[in-house]
Symmetry: C2
Subunit: 403 residues, 2 copies
């Protein structure tokens, strides 16, 4: 990662963890970026000018066309993840775009290539320098918005279903947040296997929009275990859980013999716009530890999966590249296609986050550095500015869903 | 299960849980059987005459040619399993033989068919009545001894590798007791996948015999985790553990990212010929409970598998039949072939058990109701007799390996 990609803007300096304007800005080329200035609510996100990154020898420089917004970004913003980053930092774990420069030790990629990529932060900017090992060429017919919707959600869904759970013909599956980015990807991939029964939960208001994607849909507030057992008294073959907390225990209890439970998120932790130690602790404490001997007695499997950890801390980029190749083929064969909820300007990222937090999105939310911000009734900021915050209209909803 | 298959012999009656001779035996056809008369050492096994079973409408009657002996049979004998059976009981979970009679509601099988089958006890006898759902036709070129070596070990190995662990090209695996029945089956099935690295443990004396079956072999007493990490510093993709106890914790710690640990036995519990509460409790207490959140943080999967539970309590005979069909095809294609250590007369079952307990077998141990017992230097019993015990020569070793 090149030093010049540091997220502190040239027109600003970092002082006691806060970004402030300095008196003598350095004359370097700048780019628009979406910076987390500290942990907390959406007002901590600011659209700032930052120096353009340069590439190290193993990196490629990408002109970003779209960035993906995922639920874990909300957890990063609140600081409720393991090893939170130092702020200020440009956020964003995935993007699509066009290669503008190549490090000396990169192969197989060319300037001008349309690509998608993972990055350990930094994607929500006009330019990003990414290690070439995390970059993949896009199919010709894939749009940039589709491209930015693709890596996190589909790689997660594919690994969950086909590596860990080993989904086979005739099996049954329960998942939550079926209308979200990973949820819609899981539903699509399940349709590539014969005779799979998908039980899903989602807010009641979304049921009509996603009903065709799965077999049975329930409001999460209902006793979904009881509902599933009305259909399959023995339970299901696979539970994919992005919620954690009490849903973990319920999920494990719902497994039939040879069943597999996989935890791949902990969105139950996020109950309001800012960090709630109460929900954090509750979600952790509620999860029962499990003895391997109990799994032996019951013929069950439990596991966890976290794509960012796998890529950025555990060095499994080769494994993920194999998965991405398989997914690109499925896209070209028209077996899968990202569901996009909406695309937002950087200046409207706060609204976009609030939409995910309120569980109102159906499919992926995209941040587009080329998009124009929505007109604001008051205090509107239509041009990117160093001091612009990214909370926009969402300000009025700030305390809406706090625990 | 037909009532007439009750294991109490007609020349005996059950009295306070003990088999004693009664004064007026009922004149029914009798068969030789290997009966566990109570929990404990090998002297609790007796060769007894029992009434021939008759079939219920869903069962088939099999003239047994060979029965499989597995490590869990030792645990049954000692009573160190969940839900131990009532004694006296004819032991044996698998056999090969020829169908002699069919229940009215059985299909696809004929009198005279050479078959293998699972049964919830009762296999170690000249005849056994088994639900047809647990019976499979044998390939023509499979011997009866091979047939009785096949179901438990290969079905367990196949499910561990290809359903739960989802073994793929280029992966690595650690297993224990590589020279045992399941161990040899796992090693063979691993060779059906390209470029799999198998690490195994076995007693030093067996290394030469099994070295060609796997990649790296260690004495279990060595620090095998350290040895494996010399080859693969990140650890292995799959750990298959039949030992339990501290090996469970070590196995889970040895997983690389995306690794899978599966517990499929607890032979560490058996440290001597008779039940040791100390080893039992130690093995249980040593196993750490695991939080699903830890698995999420580390990208790991843990699980347990127990074929008998799956078949006899959890009703997954259809699933197991699919697996058996795949295994029969692999046998016909000469991809797999049971490794047989030795075959023993019922009268020598005690010696056979002691050989497994001393970890001296390489491959499967077979009990053959048609085999002649070994000549005994003293107190030799060459004919099946109601009072014959099945401990034979092993008597002198009774306390040898007790904890």
């Amino acid at each position: 990662m090149s030093e010049s990609a540091a997220p502190t803007a040239p027109g600003t300096t970092e002082q006691d963890g806060k970004v402030v304007e300095s008196e003598s800005p350095t004359p370097v080329k700048e780019m628009k970026s979406l910076v987390l200035t500290g942990f907390g609510g959406i007002k901590m996100l600011k659209v700032l000018q930052n120096p353009e990154p340069t590439v190290s020898e193993t990196e490629v420089l990408i002109r970003v066309k779209a960035g993906g917004l995922n639920f874990p970004d909300l957890m990063v913003r609140q600081g409720v993840i393991e090893n939170p980053p130092k702020t200020p930092i440009i956020m964003g774990f995935e993007c699509s775009g066009v290669i503008e420069a190549l490090g000396e030790n990169t192969t197989g990629l060319n300037v001008g290539d349309r690509v998608i990529g993972f990055s350990d932060y930094k994607c929500w900017a006009e330019l990003v320098a990414i290690p070439a090992k995390y970059v993949y060429k896009m199919p010709d017919n894939m749009s940039f918005h589709e491209g930015a919707s693709f890596p996190m959600n589909f790689a997660t869904a594919y690994i969950l279903l086909f590596d860990i759970a080993n989904l086979r013909k005739g099996q049954s599956l329960l998942l939550h947040a079926v209308a979200g980015g990973v949820g819609t990807a899981i539903c699509q991939l399940c349709k590539t296997v014969e005779d799979v029964t998908v039980f899903g939960t989602a807010s009641a208001g979304k049921h009509d929009s996603v009903r065709d994607n799965l077999t049975h849909i329930y409001d999460h507030a209902t006793d979904y275990c009881q509902e599933v057992r009305k259909v399959f008294p023995q339970g299901v073959d696979i539970v994919l859980d992005c919620l954690c907390g009490d849903d973990t225990n319920r999920g494990i209890s719902l497994l039939k013999p040879m069943g597999k439970y996989i935890l791949y998120g902990s969105s139950n932790i996020v109950t309001g716009e800012t960090k709630s130690f109460f929900s954090f602790a509750k979600s952790w404490w509620q999860v029962d530890k499990v003895s391997p001997i109990k799994l032996f007695d019951e013929n069950k499997v439990i596991g966890g999966f976290q794509l960012r950890r796998l890529l950025f801390q555990q060095g499994q980029d080769g494994y993920v590249r194999d998965i991405m190749n398989k997914l690109m083929k499925l896209y070209k064969d028209k077996k899968i296609k990202p569901t996009i909820d909406s695309a937002w300007a950087f200046e409207d990222a706060g609204d976009a986050m609030q939409k995910i937090q309120d569980r109102k999105n159906i499919g992926k939310i995209i941040l587009d550095p080329t998009a124009q911000p929505k007109p604001r009734p008051k205090e509107a900021t239509t041009e990117p500015a160093t001091e612009a915050t990214a909370d926009g209209e969402a300000k009025k909803d700030e305390t809406k869903s706090e625990a």
